[in-house]
Symmetry: D2
Subunit: 286 residues, 4 copies
């Protein structure tokens, strides 16, 4: 992995019209960038939207970080683009929030340590002290921020103040508190949650109990952006596992752990490699 | 397949208490039956329920069809069993209801013809004439029973009168009408429907449109018993297939066809081989 | 489906160097084509290879079929491209070869009839007469070409002479004869076979017997191009299904039918929508 | 999990004949055992074999550990049974062998720690010192046993002497040395290996390189008992994951880690819960 070249990924959203691919790829070529991956999606409707990810090697590209924005601006203006340029060597800073369940955190930390997830982890925050030992194993700072029903607003404000500009985005790795709207709005489309069901089935609390009661033959997990509608944000990744009448709620929880951690890790991998765009309440995953 | 021996399958539900397996297997052994498969499930709770399927060869069994019931009754009474004896050589008579979509019907008829589904099909009923040609290909009688909103009660009553005692159970192979309560009650736990979503997600009409709008990354299908709560009957089988932002509603429909027919066929196979028991609103599938 | 616009898909293979995407997309834009899909892959090695599929709407494109080749040639020459232009309205002509098993043929014909596979089927050829009735159901001409061990060369030559220029590619839908080298060479990378195992496991005859004997916990199917190395051609699609000790060889065959037909249909869909490129002994599937 | 009752599981293999289920379940009932699970399998052939797992609660069972064997012996003799009685409260002692890759070890240790795998781990042995820190995190003794080509026999003998009677079975959690026959024979059907391919595809070294070269569309992992035929022992569990042309060997390795650890953990769970029987070169997994 360490031998991979540094790359620049442009993520672009704009109204669909002819010439975008040509303009963007022409721009990169003109400045000597070698395109490594290019993917696009158009909603193909009247008044449609266009989405693009184009990834090119940084080493031969002739524009520096400061110059790229200025040079690309005419194209961006012409096509009314929203766009970001993402440098692979600028690892995303990812804060992790947890409660007591450790399976997602264990998995994220291990994948991060072996280089599978290219990111920095400035902190782990929890409303419980339980997982501090795990954080210590991986030398990641752990902060205990208790959250009480009566003081939730202030508790979360303190947390937000602490986070400040330390993190580019947040992962709720089975963080069992519902975040206040002001908190969510501080990280628009930059908080990923793992919900332990195949959404939109079993929204809300205790999805495995709900699944057991309904007698489903599959259980799942959903990684999605957090919005202020409970469990209704844009879905990034989902997967399922088979179950049957023999599975108790405990068995569903056990099986679910495997799906949850896999789905969350996949969503984080997609996000940190700049592959996720949002439109309406959905994601485009390149 | 044709070389398989005739078998008898006992399906048993009763309160859980020690000695059931011993009593049932002892009974079969005493009358010279050779047990081929035996499966059981207990809810393992206080005041729990016990479910059993035990399948044995008919050829060496010394009790005739008329005698089995009487001989087994003392055990059934002792353990307060609800039970049925199912003879594999008595193929279930399965009526199929369809509308215009042919994918489930095509699949059922083909599997039936090659011997994968051991059943008889006395009739296909549809509220449209479209699939008559398909029924003719397989020499199955096809009856067109139009159903109109204003006369639904009478229309369904006519259908029910026609069916009479011709069928042991019914398959709704994408039959696009909601059945009236009196119709459903005429076939308790004997109507299987295929719903084109992973229930309980996307109950009701147009699940693929709902799935597209929600931006899910998996779509599914659910085969379940029909009850008078829409799409809430006991689930027999479910499966899913991956999808992504590129999939239009038409693509979801295309992918969904494959899952629907597979899940429905599996549910029918399980039912016709006497592997499904119902409790609460769930199934035990042996 | 019927509302989809006519498209042109360029399939391109060439040595990897900067500027290809820009040149191709610039060319399409210049002639007023609206790019609908674009995908590329580079082997990213020293002396690497580059593969591209770019699909654009035909209606606004200003070059006619005769003109496209000439106009594109300078770019093709500059980058040493091997390339084809595929018009969606020119449906591929697909000949099907079968023996006695009907499951793949049933599935292909049904998918074709409902418009899921955009192709024409000029003929079905079989070394047995058994499936003629099925072909008749779908009004596809069926030809019985017996193949005998002693006269295989002549038998296959007769078949090849009959096929002539009637077909763009061939599907072996469980055709149980090994084709002679001269026959395979007449359709280079234009014969798709379905092998009833997860290749490279269980090459050759009776893979389900081999799988049963080995006690695997999954069985699979592989759609691949036919080459003159048995079961070793480039793989297009593969899938598996779980099995266990209870599955007899007959059960594996039953489960396998579902996987085989699904995998073959997927490979045919990919091929007929111009999504498959070959390099070394592998495929790039866009 | 901790609230689960202690159980006794009988694992039985014998020639198939009528009366086995009746005799065993009658025996358990007579001594006041409450059967919780019962599963059986018969090869259903002339001169067939019969396999059974029957699990009952220990608390009400009237025979002590010393008495069970004697009391059951007449039945065992009558049916020529090979059998074991497994007490859930006697956790299996599982030694783990590793080399440098940590993903399987990380996963096993975590599952063990949270109680998902009911076993004791008396030691971790490695031919490298690298994973000692990980072992320390979980307070499991770690022993470095270098193995050199020239002294392999002696090196392995030293290892075997060390192990002695400390372990009931061994897990090769990506242990990258081939064990000598004498070592394997010391643990017949009691060494589980994880092979990083879908066996029998890609036997031997570097299966991901082989898979990449062959261009497969799925990669897999296989947990199997170690025998003295390389990668040919009885298979316990297998699974796969999709891949495509974009996946480099490094990507296959990354994806493979997820499958490997999941499949190995599942095999260990099955083994430690007394669900695996071996016959011919296959497993029966109850």
């Amino acid at each position: 992995m360490s031998t991979q070249k540094d790359t620049i990924s442009l993520l672009i959203s704009c109204p669909d019209k002819p010439g975008i691919v040509s303009a963007v790829s022409g721009f990169i070529f003109k400045h000597n960038g070698n395109i490594l991956e290019s993917d696009q999606y158009s909603t193909n409707q009247h008044d449609g939207s266009f989405f693009m990810r184009i990834c090119f090697a940084e080493d031969t590209f002739q524009l520096g970080e400061g110059e790229l924005g200025e040079a690309f601006q005419p194209i961006a203006t012409q096509f009314q683009m929203q766009w970001t340029a993402n440098y692979s060597r600028r690892r995303k800073r990812v804060g992790i929030l947890v409660s007591k369940y450790d399976h997602c955190l264990v998995d994220l930390l291990w994948r991060w340590k072996i280089g599978e997830l290219a990111m920095d982890i400035p902190f782990i925050i929890s409303n419980h002290p339980d997982l501090e030992g795990l954080a210590n194993m991986y030398d990641v700072p752990y902060y205990h921020f208790p959250v009480k029903r009566a003081t939730r607003q202030q508790d979360e404000q303190r947390m937000l103040d602490f986070i400040g500009a330390q993190a580019d985005f947040l992962i709720l790795a089975r963080y069992m508190q519902i975040l206040e709207p002001f908190f969510v709005e501080a990280f628009p489309q930059r908080i990923i949650n793992i919900h332990h069901s195949f959404l939109p089935a079993f929204v809300g609390a205790s999805p495995y109990d709900q699944a057991f009661k309904r007698g489903v033959k599959l259980i799942g997990a959903t990684a999605h952006y957090v919005t202020n509608s409970l469990d209704e944000g844009p879905i990034i990744a989902q997967d399922v596992i088979h179950c049957d009448h023999r599975d108790s709620v405990d068995d569903l929880i056990r099986k679910g752990r495997d799906v949850e951690r896999r789905v969350l890790a996949e969503a984080v991998r997609l996000y940190t490699t700049d592959r996720v765009l949002v439109y309406e309440n959905k994601t485009v995953v390149f």
